[in-house]
C-alpha cells in the first residue's frame, strides 16, 4: 500500500471524487494550473479540464457564493480558500446561505458544497496564515465542520464530505500536510462523518483532541504510559455535529478528561465538550476537566509560535495534575 502524506491523501480523494461524479467541480485561487499553493489540487486540471477545475479571481466571497449557486443547481463544488485567515469574507455566504438554504426553502433547495482550507499554525508563516477559529464555525446550525488528523482520515473524511448532501467546511491541518504519513489506498471508501475515532484505548484518563495536535496528544499518551498512566485518546474529527456518545462513554469509564486544542482557550470548542461532560458525565468525574489550549492571544509570529501551540510537555503536565487530583 502506498504511503502518502496528508496533502497527497487529499489530492487522491479529490481525484477520486471527480472521477466518480461528473458533478464535482473544484474552484479556488491557484488551484488549476498551479495545482494549489500546497499542491492539494495538483494534476486535477490536467486530468479533468479547466471547466471543472477553475482558477477563480482573487475573491473569497465569490468562491463561497459560487459554491452555493452551483450546489443549489446540483453540482458538487469543492471550493478552496487558500488559508483559514482568508475564510472570513466567506462567513456571510456560509452562515446566511449555505447553512440554511435547505431549511429556508423547506428542502426545495439544498447546498451540498465543501469549502476546504488549511488550518492552524506552526509552519513559520507570516501573519494571518495560522488561524484556528473552528469554534466559530462549529457554532452555526446547519453546517458541518470536519478536521482530519491523519492521511487515512483525510482521504476518507474528504470523500464523505464531498458526498454529503449538506455543506461542509473541511479544515486541513497545515502543520502536518507533509509531516503526517500514512498508508492510504484509493478504495473510494469514505469514513463516517459525525463520529469520533478512538485512536488509543485507556483506563485512567481521556484525552480529546483534533487536527494537528492529535500528534502531540498521542505522543503525550506514550510518555504517560511509561509513567503508568493509561490514557485513552479520542480524535473528534467531526466537530459539528460531534460524537457526544463516544466522549461521554469514555469519560464515564475513566473519570478524568483533558481536552487539547490549538485554538485559543476562551470559547474554544473545548468549552463545548467540557459543558457536555458536565451535563452528562458529572457524577463520573474524579477531577475537574482540564483544557490544554492556545492562549487567549493572537497566535504569535514564528519566533514564539511553538510556545503557543500545546506541547507534549504541557499535555503531560496537565494530565498528571488531573490524575493526581484526588
Amino acid at each position: 500500500m502506498p504511503e502518502l502524506t496528508l496533502v497527497e491523501a487529499i489530492n487522491l480523494a479529490l481525484a477520486r471524487a471527480m472521477e466518480e461524479d461528473a458533478n464535482v467541480v473544484v474552484l479556488g485561487e491557484d488551484v488549476g494550473v498551479n495545482g494549489g499553493v500546497f499542491r492539494a489540487t495538483v494534476g486535477l486540471q490536467q486530468r479533468f479540464g479547466a471547466e471543472r477545475v477553475i482558477d477563480t479571481p482573487l475573491a473569497e466571497l465569490l468562491i463561497s457564493g459560487l459554491c452555493v449557486g452551483m450546489a443549489a443547481q446540483g453540482l458538487r463544488p469543492v471550493g478552496e480558500i487558500q488559508f483559514m485567515g482568508f475564510l472570513y469574507p466567506c462567513i456571510d455566504q456560509l452562515v446566511n446561505h449555505a447553512s440554511r438554504l435547505r431549511n429556508r426553502t423547506q428542502g426545495r433547495l439544498s447546498c451540498p458544497m465543501v469549502l476546504r482550507t488549511p488550518h492552524g499554525g506552526g509552519i513559520r508563516a507570516p501573519e494571518h496564515h495560522s488561524e484556528s477559529t473552528e469554534a466559530m464555525l462549529a457554532h452555526i446550525p446547519g453546517l458541518r465542520v470536519v478536521m482530519p488528523s491523519s492521511p487515512e482520515r483525510a482521504y476518507g473524511l474528504l470523500l464523505a464530505s464531498i458526498r454529503d448532501p449538506d455543506p461542509v467546511v473541511f479544515l486541513e491541518p497545515t502543520r502536518i500536510y507533509r509531516a503526517a504519513k500514512g498508508q492510504v489506498e484509493d478504495t473510494g471508501e469514505a469514513l463516517p462523518l459525525d463520529v469520533a475515532f478512538v485512536l488509543r484505548q485507556g483506563r485512567d484518563v481521556t484525552l480529546i483532541s483534533w487536527g494537528a495536535v492529535v500528534k502531540e496528544t498521542l505522543a503525550a499518551a506514550d510518555e504517560l504510559a511509561a509513567q503508568s498512566i493509561d490514557a485513552e485518546v479520542i480524535d473528534l474529527a467531526t466537530l459539528k455535529p460531534y460524537d457526544e456518545e463516544t466522549v461521554v462513554a469514555s469519560v464515564t469509564k475513566t473519570g478524568r478528561c483533558v481536552i487539547v486544542h490549538e485554538a485559543a482557550r476562551t470559547g474554544g470548542f473545548g468549552a463545548e465538550i467540557a459543558a457536555l461532560i458536565a451535563e452528562r458525565g458529572l457524577t463520573s468525574l474524579l477531577a475537574p476537566i482540564a483544557r490544554v489550549t492556545g492562549y487567549d492571544t493572537v497566535m504569535p509570529l514564528p519566533r514564539l509560535e511553538q510556545r503557543y501551540i500545546p506541547s507534549v510537555a504541557r499535555i503531560v503536565a496537565a494530565t498528571h495534575k488531573v490524575c493526581e487530583f484526588a
Binding site: 468525574l285 474524579l286 475537574p288
Partner: protein, 366 residues
C-alpha cells in the same frame, strides 16, 4: 382632521360610483397620488390626492355612489409615530426593573467535593460536614469519605441538639466570635465564715459589693455602636444546670435586697427552672453573671462572657487548702474565684480591682 370632498369631475355630473380604492386607512400619501378610481358616465377616472398626509378615514366602499361635494377621504393631523426600525417591531418601554444591589455575602464555608465523591458519601450515609478533607485546596477525597464512614460506624447515632442545648450552642458560638476574653483568678479565705453560711447568697452580695467598688464590670456593651452603659442596679444572672441544659435566670436588684429576700427569690427561680416554667422575661436583662460550677466540681475556669454583659464570675468548689496564715502554714477553707471579662470594654486593672473587692467582701467574717 381635514376632509377631502369629491371634486367636480366635470360635465355636470352630480355623483360618481366608487370602482376601486388605491389607498388604505393609515397610509401616507402625497399630492397627486391616486386615491380612488370612480366611474362617471364616460370613463373610469382616478381622483388624485389634493394634499400630502396620512389617510384617517375612507368614506364609502366599492359600488357606493358619492355625491360631488360629499366627503371622500379624511386626513389625519400630526405625524405618524417613529417606529424606530426598518424591520420587525420594537416593543414598547416596560417598567424598568429596579436593580437592587445584593448585600455583600457572608463568607460561606463551602464543601469542596467532587460529584462522584458526593455520591459515594450519600451511598455510605456519611455527613460531609463531619469529613476531614485531605485533598488539594481542602477537597474531600474518596479516601476521606471512606475513613469517615468507618469512624462513624463506630460512633453513636447522630443526635440533633434541641431546645436549651441548641440555644446554648448558638449563644456560645456568637459570644465566642465577638468577645475578647481575659480571665483572672484568686481564692477567698472563708475559714472565718459561720457554719451554714448561705454560700450562693453570700457570693451574690459580694458581687454587688464589688460592683459598687468597681462599677465598670456591671455594664452593657453595644459593639456595633461602640457604646458602653454602666448600670446602677445589679441584676445577676445565675447559671443553673438543669436536666434540659444550662439556663441563666436573673436575680434582680441584688444590691438593695436583704439575704432572706434574695434566698427566697433564688429558690423560686430554681424551682421554676426545674419545672421548666420560667417566664422568658426572667431570663433577660442580667448585668453580670455568676456561675456556681463549684457546686458540682472544679476550682477555676475560663468562662464565657455573654454579650451585652462584660463580665462573669465563677465560684469554684470550696475546699480545705494549706495556706500561709499569719506567717504559718494552716489548713483553711477557700473559695476559688474566676473572673472573665470582655477586654474590649474592661481593663485588666478594673478586672483586678473588682476581683480584689469581691475577695475582700467574701473574706469578711459573716
Amino acid at each position: 382632521m381635514r376632509q377631502f370632498l369629491l371634486p367636480d369631475l366635470g360635465e355636470g355630473l352630480e355623483e360618481a360610483e366608487i370602482v376601486t380604492w388605491h389607498v388604505n386607512e393609515g397610509d401616507r400619501v402625497v399630492v397627486d397620488q391616486p386615491l380612488v378610481s370612480v366611474e362617471t358616465d364616460k370613463a373610469v377616472v382616478e381622483v388624485p390626492s389634493p394634499w400630502s398626509g396620512q389617510i384617517a378615514r375612507l368614506f364609502g366602499a366599492k359600488g357606493d355612489l358619492i355625491k360631488v361635494g360629499a366627503p371622500l377621504v379624511e386626513f389625519a393631523e400630526g405625524e405618524r409615530g417613529d417606529t424606530g426600525t426598518v424591520v420587525g417591531e420594537l416593543g414598547q418601554e416596560e417598567k424598568a426593573h429596579r436593580e437592587v444591589a445584593a448585600p455583600a455575602p457572608a463568607p460561606a464555608r463551602t464543601l469542596q467535593v467532587l460529584p462522584a465523591v458526593r455520591a459515594l458519601a450519600r451511598k455510605l450515609d456519611v455527613d460531609l460536614n463531619l469529613v476531614q478533607a485531605t485533598g488539594p485546596g481542602g477537597t474531600i477525597t474518596r479516601a476521606d469519605v471512606e475513613r469517615a464512614a468507618k469512624s462513624l460506624a463506630e460512633a453513636g447515632p447522630a443526635e440533633p441538639l434541641r431546645g436549651m442545648r441548641r440555644a446554648m450552642a448558638q449563644r456560645m458560638a456568637a459570644a465566642h466570635t465577638e468577645v475578647v476574653r481575659t480571665t483572672v483568678t484568686d481564692e477567698a479565705d472563708i475559714e472565718d465564715w459561720q457554719k451554714g453560711e448561705d454560700v450562693t447568697i453570700r457570693v451574690v452580695r459580694a458581687i454587688a459589693a464589688a460592683c459598687r467598688a468597681e462599677p465598670s464590670l456591671n455594664a452593657w456593651y453595644n459593639a456595633e455602636a461602640g457604646e458602653r452603659r454602666l448600670i446602677k442596679r445589679v441584676d445577676i444572672g445565675i447559671a443553673v444546670d438543669t436536666e434540659g441544659g444550662l439556663i441563666v435566670p436573673v436575680l434582680r436588684n441584688v444590691g438593695e435586697r436583704d439575704a432572706r429576700d434574695l434566698r427566697a427569690g433564688l429558690d423560686r427561680l430554681r424551682a421554676d427552672a426545674a419545672a421548666r416554667s420560667i417566664p422568658p422575661e426572667e431570663l433577660r436583662g442580667a448585668t453580670i453573671t455568676l456561675s456556681n460550677f463549684g457546686m458540682i466540681g472544679g476550682r477555676f475556669a475560663n468562662l464565657i462572657v455573654v454579650p451585652p454583659q462584660v463580665a462573669i464570675i465563677g465560684a469554684g468548689r470550696i475546699d480545705q487548702r494549706v495556706l500561709v496564715h499569719n506567717g504559718a502554714p494552716a489548713a483553711r477553707r477557700v473559695l476559688p474565684l474566676s473572673l472573665t471579662v470582655d477586654h474590649r470594654v474592661v481593663t485588666g486593672g478594673e478586672a483586678a480591682r473588682f476581683l480584689m473587692a469581691l475577695k475582700a467582701d467574701l473574706e469578711r467574717a459573716s
